[in-house]
């Protein structure tokens, strides 16, 4: 009985005055992602995908971007600062594929893993790339356009900043297909350095003035194709077949309405998500392949509805 009382008392005392101090520190792998801009739905969905993956894989993610796609100077400034913050990895969608190369040694010296996303390297280094197979995407656009116009008609490209491999590869893929696989007449690659909608519209106006016979145009981003579409409508040239790139709801709606012939899909969400997943795999010491191609598909009037639906659902994830 006495023992029981002592036991009981000691239990009460023990539970009563536990002087505890719990400390929890949360530290995760840090990743800085620098994208080209945040002015299009494409980049917003890339951001979405990255943030989703970051929360799934418990990664501290900081996404930064210059004001517009041609602000290579600001982007390199951000990159310099990113290096100074010494994250575990940097993923970059470079505005200037050449300009970035000078920072690669410094990045590696600081023990930071470097990844290219959406925008391939301008050299043949073995820095991992996650994004579209842009040359193939250009070819896809060429094939779609060739089917829609009659032989011998004139076609052109409105491409984004040619310092960026994404745009130049798309343009060259398109040109390659048109020149070698079809009898169409290839006019020129018209460069819009900031890949904006207004840039696309200006380019279209120029092309229409210069080549009144033009029948088809491939724009290497959704923003530019939207600009081109506006110009065609304004110029009453509904006969011109437009092919764009990127999976973006406004452009998809235009495809559905028949204003745009086709879009080559580029799933921004998927690119963002896979970028983070690949980075996590590398940081965990897993083997990763040098290139991770996120599949491109052709979106036409017949299947635009499905893409649009998927796109909306993805946004809700």
């Amino acid at each position: 009985m006495k023992k029981a009382i002592i036991l009981l008392t000691s239990m009460l005392l023990l539970s009563g005055c536990g002087q505890q101090q719990t400390e929890i520190k949360q530290e995760q792998k840090s990743v800085v992602a620098i994208v080209k801009a945040m002015d299009s739905l494409h980049w917003l969905s890339v951001q979405d995908g990255m943030e989703k993956a970051a929360s799934e894989y418990h990664v501290d993610l900081t996404i930064l971007w210059p004001e517009s796609e041609d602000d290579a100077e600001v982007q390199t400034g951000i990159l310099e600062d990113a290096i100074s913050s010494k994250p575990d990895a940097i993923a970059i969608a470079s505005c200037d594929s050449e300009g970035i190369l000078q920072y690669v040694p410094e990045i590696y010296e600081n023990g930071i893993e470097l990844f290219y996303m959406d925008e391939e390297a301008a050299d043949s280094s073995d820095i991992p790339y996650i994004g579209s197979d842009n040359f193939y995407a250009g070819e896809m656009a060429g094939e779609a356009l060739a089917k829609a116009v009659s032989d011998g008609t004139q076609v052109a490209v409105i491409a984004g900043n040619q310092k960026q491999t994404a745009h130049s590869k798309r343009a060259n893929g398109f040109r390659n297909y048109i020149e070698h696989k079809t009898s169409l007449q290839f006019l020129e690659i018209y460069e819009v350095p900031d890949s904006t909608m207004s840039g696309g519209r200006t380019a279209m106006r120029q092309l229409l003035e210069q080549y009144p016979e033009i029948q088809g145009v491939f724009c290497s981003s959704a923003m530019m194709v939207m600009g081109a579409m506006k110009e065609c409508r304004a110029a009453q040239r509904k006969d011109i077949k437009l092919v764009g790139m990127d999976t973006q709801s406004d452009a998809l709606t235009a495809v559905q309405n028949g204003d745009i012939l086709a879009m080559v899909s580029q799933n921004g969400y998927e690119i963002g998500y896979r970028t983070i997943r690949t980075i996590v795999q590398r940081l965990n010491g897993e083997e990763i392949s040098k290139t991770t191609h996120v599949g491109n598909e052709l979106i036409t009037q017949s299947n635009a509805g499905r893409f649009l639906k998927e796109y909306v659902e993805e946004g809700r994830k």
């Binding site: 009563g16 719990t22 400390e23 929890i24 520190k25 900081t62 310099e80 600062d81 100074s84 913050s85």
Partner: protein, 564 residues
Amino acid sequence: MVYRKRIVFGLREKVILTVIGISMLATAFLSILFYNRAVDIIRNSHEEAIASSLSVSADTFDSVMKDGYLACIYAAYSEEMKALMHRDTTYEKLTELLERIRESSSSIYSVYCYITEADIIVKVGREGIEIAENSPETEAWISSIADKKGENQFSPTYNTDISSAIQRTFFTYEKQIKNGDETLGSLFVNIDERDIYFKCLQSEETKNTNCYITKGNKVVSATDTGILNTALVKQSNTISVSKKMAMTDYSMVSVSDFTAITAELRKTRNWILLVAVLLNFVFCIPVFFIVRRMMYPMKELEKTMNQVKEGDLTIRADIYRHDEIGNLSENFNEMIEQVERLIDELVKEKMLKKEAEIEALQYQITPHFMYNTLSSIRYAALMQNSNEIAALLQAFIELLRLSASDRGAFITIQQEIRMVHNYVTLQQFRYQGLFDVVFDVEHKTEQFYVPRLIIQPLVENAILHGLNHCEGKNRIGVRVIQVGRFLAIQVKDNGVGMTQEEQYNLTHGVRKSKFSGIGISNIRERLQLYYGDQGSLTFYSSPQHGTTAMITLPIADHPDIYTI
């Protein structure tokens, strides 16, 4: 020394105390177990909740800082800014631009721009526009912020704005404005610590939880501005959760007073314990009655036992139930019965002995005055020279004296034989020499003790019943010999003897009349009493061939050996 009186608990009290004690223990154990479990659960869920809300706050902090950082870097690299980096009279365009930068994000408190060429600092903030010449304070402030080479450029510098009249605490981003390699000036984007507090921390704070933003161990944002720039004090019994920001070098820290969080729970635990104690006291009452009911047969048995102890052997315990107590009562009753039987037997034995002794006394021919009178008669006979009568009287007197004077139950063989001798002398006078008695007593047996009047009745028997009155000389032989540890006493006559029937009657104590055979059965009873199976009386007889009576008994050389 102080002696304390020890409280002695009865069985009932012990049972009650045990029941109550165990139930108390169980309740206490359960409540403590549940309390600890609940504390663990609360701690875990609290930690989880804090961690997730901290990451939300951390995200807010980072996004505010990101806005500031992007505003700063965009402006510093813009051509418009570069173009305005020179001496001016009003700096109207520059202040307009700085105002636009400031308004690009709601969290930016002020934007400062230092123009190297003019050595002037232009400040645009919520308080208004200030254009000031460079001063030592400004210089000190600028160098405190600009001097952070090699550090994380994403992380703003925490500082006190010593360059202004109102010294606010800022998180400041700084970028140099360059044209090629030429430095034109510096741009400072300031985010107020109070803004950060209200945006990131205030919503997280509760009565028991304080939130801080720290860098290293230093507090940089908190409710209490007094603790800014001091180390975070660790307290006991707290849960502290910290989250490192993704972009900047700051950490979000939440410190919860765990004692306060679990106070309610502790109150509940104590309440349960209190209720348990009260309930147990209440339960004491039914337990008391139940136990009393259960213990009733026990009490009854105890009462019966006490009565038995007092000497009442007739009482029996009641059997209520066939449980352990029932068995106990049953066994007790049996035991009492057995004791009673044994005592009865003992009493009966004592009574028998008394009776036998009384019978023996009755057999004695006692009163003193009788032989005194006889003595007088004997003297008269002597004086008249009637010697024969005197001798007879002498024998009679001696017989009487021996029977009366010696009080003990045992006498020596010698005395017994003498008595028989005197008796025979008297009887010979009566029967006028009809018989002879021959004594053959071993000398060594003379001092052995035998019960008084053990031989005399046999001789009397032989004279009364065995004499053959018709034929010549009757002989009676009395013989005493020692056989090992036994004494054999033989009284033999050559008289009429006994028929089978007579022998049977004699052996089995069937009396023909009130007085006949008393002596024989008396002898037998006494032998049985004193010696048990060791003493015996046997008759050997046949008609016309005399009777032999034989007593065997164990030797006793002291009168008390077989005395009861």
